[in-house]
Symmetry: D2
Subunit: 346 residues, 4 copies
């Protein structure tokens, strides 16, 4: 009995493309990184050499047209995601696409339409769903361990702001950073959001204000099922990456703590202390990147439904757009004002 090994093409050899390449090469036994392409060919070559990828493609189309390639990972810049999704779908490739598909709901709809027509599988890179903490919280809600959820809090803070150049093209904090938390909120609660009240400020770097963005945000989510939630975002937590969640339910509560490289506590004459939490999203979420790709590979190989798909990608963007509108108009905004969304959580 020889097991089928999934042949995967990687489009984009940047930070996240490299992570996925390494995971395909060294952590996932059912798949092989068969080819990689990047406009920066040196970067592609570098990742290929490190991850034993036999082929560096001249361009994306070489990957998309290669019949031996079963699936592609779209790890290029956001503005290319929708077009590449369309091309890959038309080429019959299964697709794993980094978030977001696009900042425009119209373009997202076009891309998802093609995916549907082509009957290929499509997974969006909301990796945090695969994190052991968050999947434990989801399990607690599903199992009724804390009863019916009533109040949700998400804390999601970066260790430091990205470069201003990045911020300028990021689509703003709600589309770039909060988008993960919008997905997390839907995932954990298992329901859709009706209305969003968003507020925020520039508290860290005036250059972020000049770039037309916020660095501190507070979002209130009114779910259709009556749950009330908050998302707390900051571009800078001095102590590092802060990723926690807390839900109060009718029978109790569940809360997660950060992750640490070690569990040592040092007690001296000045304080009881421990080292800072894992500081970078790639360290904090290392395992979730492996797990999400494993889930994608399994689902494709066994022709099973994907855990997080196109509609999840679309709804998170719609929520971000509603949050932006709420912030600008200083009033609660219904997500449906922004886009007609069909509830779809399995």
């Amino acid at each position: 009995m020889t097991e089928k090994i999934l042949q995967v093409g990687i489009i984009g050899a940047g930070r996240i493309g490299k992570v996925h390449a390494e995971n395909l090469a060294f952590r996932i036994s059912e798949a092989i990184p068969a080819a990689i392409a990047d406009v920066n060919e040196a970067a592609a070559r570098d990742v290929a050499s490190r991850c034993r990828i036999s082929r560096v493609a001249r361009d994306n189309s070489e990957i998309l047209q290669d019949p031996s390639i079963d699936a592609v990972l779209i790890c290029s810049p956001t503005e290319t995601h929708a077009d590449l999704t369309i091309q890959a779908a038309r080429a019959g490739k299964h697709i794993f696409c980094e978030k977001p598909i696009d900042h425009s709901l119209a373009k997202i709809d076009l891309a998802l339409e093609e995916v549907k027509k082509a009957r290929v599988k499509f997974q969006i890179g909301f990796n945090r769903r695969f994190d052991a903490n968050y999947s434990r919280v989801r399990a607690a809600i599903s199992n009724g361990e804390i009863g019916v959820p009533n109040l949700l809090h998400i804390i999601s803070r970066d260790p430091g702001p990205p470069p201003i150049a990045y911020i300028k093209t990021s689509g703003g904090i709600f589309l770039d950073m909060t988008i993960h938390d919008f997905d997390m909120a839907r995932f954990l609660v298992g329901g859709e959001v009706d209305t969003i009240y968003a507020t925020g400020a520039v508290r860290i770097d005036p250059a972020i204000e000049k770039a037309g963005d916020l660095d501190t945000a507070l979002v209130v989510l009114h779910f259709k099922n009556g749950v009330i939630g908050t998302i707390d975002n900051s571009r800078q937590a001095a102590y590092g990456y802060d990723q926690r969640v807390e839900i109060l339910g009718s029978k109790g509560a569940i809360a997660t703590e950060n992750r640490y490289s070690n569990t040592a506590t040092i007690s001296t004459a000045s304080a009881i202390q421990r080292d800072l939490p894992l500081n970078f999203f790639m360290d904090r979420y290392t395992e979730s990147f492996v797990t999400e790709l494993q889930a994608f590979v399994h689902a494709v190989l066994q022709d099973k439904p994907l855990p997080v798909g196109g509609m999840d990608a679309r709804i998170a963007v719609a929520m971000a757009l509603a949050a932006r509108q709420s912030f600008e108009e200083r009033r609660p905004v219904r997500v449906e004002e922004v886009a007609h969304i069909e509830a779809q959580l399995a």
Copy 2:
């Protein structure tokens, strides 16, 4: 050198009156509970006997007219607070009044006007300011240990809802429960709130809805200094009284945990667990009730400024009224819409 012992009269022998009587009798050496009055004379007699109080007064006026009484504690029902404050001020007694003075800002203003005229001292019973956790957080902010505060979260949940009869006269969750958190927010941040967005729901008991109240509330505070805060209230946390706070500042964060009767952790084949936190506000805040009264007694005996006064009492009520209006009108409401408040935090 004989130290002056403060002679204190207690008006109201209910739950909180009894706590203060015991603290005066058994925990505070510089004061003596000299007399107590209650419309329920048996209750007054019971507290007097337990706390070695030599005199049970026929009525409040007997206490207010006794020249040997230096100060009074107003522990009667809320609707009597303003009138008793006025009478006590006119009688020249220093006043410790349970929160709130009244639900009407106009009546509060009348009472505070008399206090001012009479030049007596007036302290409001925001005991949580004196809790070791919250005063540690305040110290961290004052000392700049976490830099400039940016985001604040207050979790404040009761173990279970009060009787419906109580809820009907409570003034609603914002005036009855959140009022402590409004004061806490101002105290911890050291600044005044500009705008409030409040939302809420009935998630626990439909009878609370019938009584015209909420049992679950989420309030967003926009401070004048740019801090954004949230207050999370629930009338029922299955695991007990949940009282925590968390502040993110420019240089770090501070967060408090609940208090427990013991620190034992039990590990078995099913879980790693500990006993529930202190469940009742009188157990959780025992020491803060002693400390607030000690502060009052010291300030009166040494003619020093009080740590929490009339304006603090007034502002918290104004915030509660703004929250109620925000909830009803589903929009952010400026506190100044409700009442003109002069910033006054020392």
Copy 3:
């Protein structure tokens, strides 16, 4: 129904005498500190004034011969405990005696003999049994929450060594410091110790070596029921008073943590930290001093058995003597070699 109030005489107005006086005056409603005596009359006068004690006795006999005094607290230096116990017993007073009764088992036996003859109640000041943490551990063992106990660890470290003058008359670390832990071990496990292996060193201050004592000790306890335990003592933990215990049983484990003045955690760019634990035994064990005295007062007033009595006092001393012998002879020593002890734990 008027409740009987126990009239208590206090012998010794030093550090611990003052604590008990304050607790009788301000924390325990069923007893009154009626008289106090100390060779240092100024100290007695000071405590009397602070605790509203109406009488400062000329000497101990004035207290012992006063028929209105029901019970005495012996809080004088250790070398006087046995004689005062004998005198108090002969005078028909119930006795609460600070630990230890004496360093000599023979003198202890004489004193306990008189107590027995006089049929007065006798409680020894092993306050830690009344601490919420340790009584929770004892309850877990009694209730079978962790099954049959197998391994025990006691950590018991002081924030700093006492004055050398004190060390010289202390009887050595095993009789002065470990004695509390010997009692704790018996109390928690609910069984008697067969053999002790003790080791130790001077790691903190050479002056302690000169004084013929140790400042660091490690004791292995072999219980008759097969449990193996360790006691870890240090005269100096830089971070403060460290008092923990851990038991492994057949169905799980229980472990306690230190106590802290607040639960705040501060996260900055350098560490996640909290303030030091309660640093002084009087802060750490405040409540246990109240509870042990309350237990004594209740038992006397209601003529009930005492929770910790003469035999407990004797056994702990015998264990300390066995430990000292083990250290000196570098071999395990049976407690029975030192003294014939009848097992007696209820």
Copy 4:
């Protein structure tokens, strides 16, 4: 610049051989598992297929005689370690050997002599040294973060006893289980042990007693530098694998906690609880197995000293033999009584 890839032969395809094969295949980019051998050829074939190992060798000598193989991992049963070490050394292969080399110091010495003669590198599989917790503790000691170490406690408990058949050939708890902790004690303290006092009992399964072994052990270590340490071993902790360490130093203390799959805390009406810690040594120490092999590969490729070598292997066995003798003779035993050991910690 092409990097040299280390060609590694694996001897033994059992539990630990499989772990190392996977790590070589999927986690360590500078090495390749080139061949594997096992008397159970099916097991070897299975691992080879899973880990993309191109060759399944007929026997060990095929691996040892293959000039393309740079290094071997000895993962076969303990009784073969010494002979295979000798053969591999004579064949000029670098050696990574699972612990222990042998239960006989004489055989260990023979093997290490051959290693020395052949000038090949030799690393012993004390993986825990490479665990993030323990290396953090070692760093704290090295950096003087807690001053001079004074007291050490190691807790090392298995989730459940191994099969009786295994126990019968294991050499006993001290050689099989405590041996890891003996190495840990030396590693953390950075010094050698002078005298050992060991005690123990059968508390879990009478069959273990029949097999001539203990299931519960308590070892006291007297270090040459004056540190006193304890090791607490149990074959069964109901809540799972318990691996902690705690050191008190002159300036403070450091303590580690267990590792958990998630950080979620669930609070309900019955308790505040979290899931059990990582339960199996392969889950708990996953990363340390990768890191130790990475260290071996790096040291071989760059011809650098190994972090844990032959003398470390030998000393741990000598300590186990001294512990066994102490237990049998009920007295402290000097390690030098058992074997002349040259201190060797770098």
